[in-house]
């Protein structure tokens, strides 16, 4: 009896081999949050002063850097799991070719999601180094911000993949931008929750990016509490939910 494939790993490897010719996309992934950190954090920060987080005062660059680290995890994961996954699924049918081998749908999806999580994780790790260099890390708790960023990447990667299964043409991705951009701007990345009117608080707090930003901000500042367990639980649940939905949906789509 021949060996039956190698699980999700070869799918991850396929993406790594293809990526060797595109490594420079990492530059844009790290340049963007640095520009925001310089422009918003240091530039605007001079005008804004400190931000009040519960009972504590946090300098504006520290406040913004945490938001940008969470966002870079989101951006890396979303880019891979939407545009690149769509290309492989609908344009080149690389996914179909994989399914003629012993790979199962869950191997393919785990490999694909794993790859986009890796990209989000690398973006966040690079940004964490830069945040350290700019002196916006104030606590040893920040060591946990990288695993947290990976958790954020898992959530957005499985959500992005799920969304992509419904995409018909490239134009549909504009709908996604309509969700991603407001979330990037309003998930307390740049302004604390207290600036929003009371009725808007639950809306902001329901977004996955808000939970990620709040978690990483607590870890960077050391203002860690039990509510962070809530953020982690929320992110884990979202990740599991969308991973399950995606596997179900893809099986229906491909094994028709």
């Amino acid at each position: 009896m021949k060996a039956l494939g190698a699980g999700p790993l070869p799918v991850f490897e396929r993406n790594a081999v293809a990526f060797r010719n595109q490594w420079w996309v990492l530059l844009s992934g790290v340049a963007e949050p640095i520009l925001y950190l310089l422009g918003m954090g240091l530039g605007l920060g001079g005008l804004v002063g400190d931000v009040k987080l519960e009972a504590h005062l946090v300098s504006y660059p520290v406040f913004v850097a945490a938001g940008l680290m969470a966002s870079s995890a989101m951006n890396g994961a979303i880019f891979e799991s939407t545009f690149n996954f769509f290309f492989k699924m609908k344009e080149t049918h690389t996914i179909d070719a994989m399914l003629y081998t012993p790979l199962r749908m869950r191997d393919v999806l785990l490999g694909e999601v794993g790859w986009s999580v890796a990209r989000g994780g690398v973006y966040s790790a690079m940004f964490l180094v830069i945040a350290l260099a700019f002196g916006t890390i104030e606590s040893w708790w920040a060591a946990l911000s990288l695993p947290s960023a990976i958790l954020i990447a898992i959530v957005f990667s499985s959500m992005g993949t799920f969304f992509t299964t419904y995409v018909r043409t490239w134009a549909d991705f504009d709908l996604m931008q309509l969700a991603i951009l407001p979330m990037f701007m309003c998930s307390t990345t740049f302004f604390p929750l207290s600036v929003y009117p009371g009725w808007a608080h639950p809306i902001v707090q329901a977004t996955p990016l808000y939970n990620g930003v709040a978690l990483i901000r607590d870890l960077h500042t050391g203002l860690v509490g039990w509510h962070d367990v809530g953020h982690v639980l929320y992110l884990v649940l979202m990740g599991v939910l969308f991973a399950w939905l995606t596997i179900r949906r893809m099986s229906n789509l491909f094994f028709a």
Binding site: L4, G5, P10, R14, N21, T92, A97, P102, R104, F254
Partner: protein
């Protein structure tokens, strides 16, 4: 029972529905080890749906299907590990080079990295792509892409190779090269299951074939059996001017001799064992065609006889 299990492919009353649409309507056939089995039919006959069920990526709606004695529904991975699939579209990995395509595909079958390079180079040579290993997919010609797709389907040394319209869209030279390579695989003992809508391809390659139309099998046998059973030795093609007199004369001669006529938009086909004798007889009876052409009958004629319409659409 032993003999049934030993066959690489057995289908019994196999059906496939897509909602209301019936793509495959209860077909039964079996393939012997080492055989080249052809499925001939026009577009929409149900060939690709059948191939997809055999390659385990599409569940059957009803009937029985055994591949290597296993059930595609429950043993998909085991079946796929012993199967090579050449889908209708090339679907090569455009982000990779030709060699990387073959190396990564071996990884999908669980081959350790270290062994992938040698096998990739061996397959590139076999498919006459030895000097194209470092090329990306896009610059390759249509024939080269097809050969690379076949090379990719061979990475696991499959016991059975499925080819869905392998030469559609290729120029004659590329087709002949491909046929020659497929013939070599057959000599090596690989079972081939191929769909086609070219009768010359089926005649060249298939030991045995089924003709499908509208989801059902309308005939089965070896190419020569089918021709001798369903049509005459020769076919006479006649072209007339618009004069009704000639067509009427032809109809009378044919009915007297018990010959069948197919009336196509541009010509009449008459099925006869001796074409030249028929033409002489027609002229003597006052029928004067503008042009005549006598040829050996082919699978196209079998198809026309069985369904009343032309095969290539």
């Amino acid at each position: 029972m032993w003999a049934v299990v030993d066959r690489p492919l057995v289908a019994e009353g196999l059906t496939k529905h897509f909602g209301e649409f019936v793509a495959v309507d209860g077909i039964s056939f079996s393939v012997e080890p080492g055989q080249t089995f052809g499925v001939l039919g026009p577009n929409g006959a149900g060939k690709s749906s059948t191939m997809k069920m055999v390659s385990t990526v599409s569940p059957r709606t009803g009937g029985c299907l055994q591949v290597f004695g296993l059930d595609p529904e429950t043993d998909g991975r085991q079946i796929r590990s012993r199967l090579g699939v050449v889908p209708q579209e090339d679907i090569l990995d455009v982000d990779l080079t030709a060699r990387e395509n073959l190396m990564i595909y071996q990884r999908y079958f669980g081959v350790p990295w270290k062994q992938t390079r040698a096998k990739a180079d061996q397959l590139l040579d076999f498919m006459q792509l030895g000097d194209r290993g470092d090329s990306k997919v896009e610059p390759l010609s249509g024939g080269m892409k097809r050969r690379l797709t076949i090379a990719r389907a061979l990475v696991n040394d499959p016991e059975m190779l499925l080819l869905d319209e392998p030469t559609t869209g290729l120029d004659p030279q590329a087709r002949h090269l491909l046929w020659e390579r497929l013939y070599r695989l057959k000599e090596q003992g690989v079972t081939l299951l191929l769909t086609t809508h070219y009768m010359d391809e089926a005649e060249q390659l298939a030991d045995r074939l089924v003709i499908m139309d509208n989801g059902v099998i309308v005939a089965e046998g070896s190419p020569s059996e089918l021709i001798s059973k369903h049509t005459t030795r020769e076919v006479v093609e006649l072209r007339f001017d618009d004069d009704e007199h000639n067509a009427a004369g032809l109809a009378q001669v044919a009915s007297e001799a018990g010959l069948r006529i197919d009336e196509l938009p541009d010509r009449h086909l008459v099925y006869a064992n001796d074409g030249d004798a028929l033409i002489t007889h027609l002229r003597a009876s006052g029928v004067h065609p503008l042009g005549t052409y006598v040829r050996r009958s082919s699978l196209e004629d079998v198809f026309l006889t069985l369904t009343g319409r032309s095969l290539v659409e």
